[in-house]
Amino acid sequence: MQTDALRAESVRKVYRGRNSPDIEALSGVSLRISKGERIALLGRNGAGKTTFLRISSTLLAPTSGSVSIFGRDAIADPEAVRPYLAVVPQEGKPFMHLTPREQAYTYLRARGFSAETAKARAEHALEQMGLTEVADRLSITLSGGQRQRTMVATVISTEAPLLFLDEPTIGMDPFARRGVWDSFRELTRKGSTILLTTHYLDEAEALSQRLYIIDEGRLLAEGTADDLKRSVGGTLRVSVVSGDGITAQLATFGPLVRDGDTVHVITGPQRIQEILELAAHSKLTATVGPVTLEEAFLRVVGRSINDES
């Protein structure tokens, strides 16, 4: 029988407030990740992504529920599973007085790799993260994006069987993000399993084989990006800005998805012309495009991923 890399059952987390009300950050999250999968947890700020990642990676105790890693109980015996893990924490920073090269190398040495292996792996990871040129500069002199890349390089250089990355590409330029994505693909090809969190739709789509949408501590949807897009109910969307006044008419063309004062009509190619005419008739701006993960997210969560409320 194939054991899952990660299995979570009904994980709940209530943060007990001392002088503030308790916060239920997770209300029963269950998921399964097979060996070698690349999975994204997609959600708005405050959805519970970090909480889930920290619980799964043995850094935070759940209020209830169970987590097993490669078939071992990670709640009862965190030490037994820790050797398999590597974690990029949210908003982590490397040692300011180490260079990226030293950071990755010393971390691998502390994890028990030989000097030779540590050197080779650190080198490879730095190259993948495009850090070769700054590899010998102290982190204190690096930009935020370069520091974040150093963190990712340090952690992926372990090639750990199960990697957790909390918003790994935050603060990176588009070019660097692509480097990170490539390195993740390479890691899963080599047999690692990856769970990452993100609130970038393009990242979740480009990178994950499957993704979970999380909101207010619950998993609301699961599937491939294509599955989720299909579930929206059409292949094209017509977005009508300030379309509130004509929602009743718009609804006759297909499912509606709202994003602030924009109304997206999900439909097929044959109805596009009519909707555009209707919008033009009401003097409203309308644009046409393929259905994206954004509409899927809006439909599932009811709010935009950038909605902070």
Partner: protein, 256 residues
Amino acid sequence: MNLEPAFPLQRRSRWSGLGAFIGTELRVQLHEVLSIGVSVIVQAVFLVFVSVLARQYLPYTIIGAVVFSTFQIGQRVQNESAWIRIDHKLHELYHASPMTPEAYFLGMSIGILLAYCAPILVLSGAAEYFVRFSGTAALIFLGVLACEFVFTASVGYMISTWFRNMRSIWPYSTLFFNFFGVLPPVFYPLWLFPSALQPIILILPTAGGTALVEHASGLLALPLDWILIAAVSLVGGALLAFVGAVYWARRISRER
């Protein structure tokens, strides 16, 4: 061919990775040349101050200064560990790894000790010049310093985990300094302290340790029961603090 397993899953012992992490912390700390230099200068200035004011107390002051600069390692452990946890979140890299939380705690402590051994060595040199220790006294001195380090690093590490932001930690550094260093007879001889409280104050590792070294080098004559009080609390305190810190390090490696 490289026969090393792709991923070392078997931890050899609970202290695996300790050496490498000591190296990491030492490497990090040695950039703080200014801080290390200042720590030497501060103590030196203090000695000049005492030699002008009360030259007859100088040997006591120097011994106290060696003990206290060792003791201050704990303050640095406290600040460093809190900083790495709160600002860098690097502890998560090390906890979710084959390295144990206790190896992390001890590695950080020893790394800081090695980085900041300069003031301890300089002051020890001065102490030897003024006091001339016998072999036994030197051994006792060394043992006392070892206990001071273990105690203070353990307590410093535990304290560091109780806070969520750096600002609230600073006052504890002052408390450390005043409660363990300035108030009790560390920089001044025991007999200047209120006599009724003298055996009690020996319970403090700084005062007790200093008194033991001074006794061993003939600067003080402690009755046997006072020696026992000082020695038992020093060694017992160090052991207890260390066991407590190991337990605590393991426990907080997973937040609640």
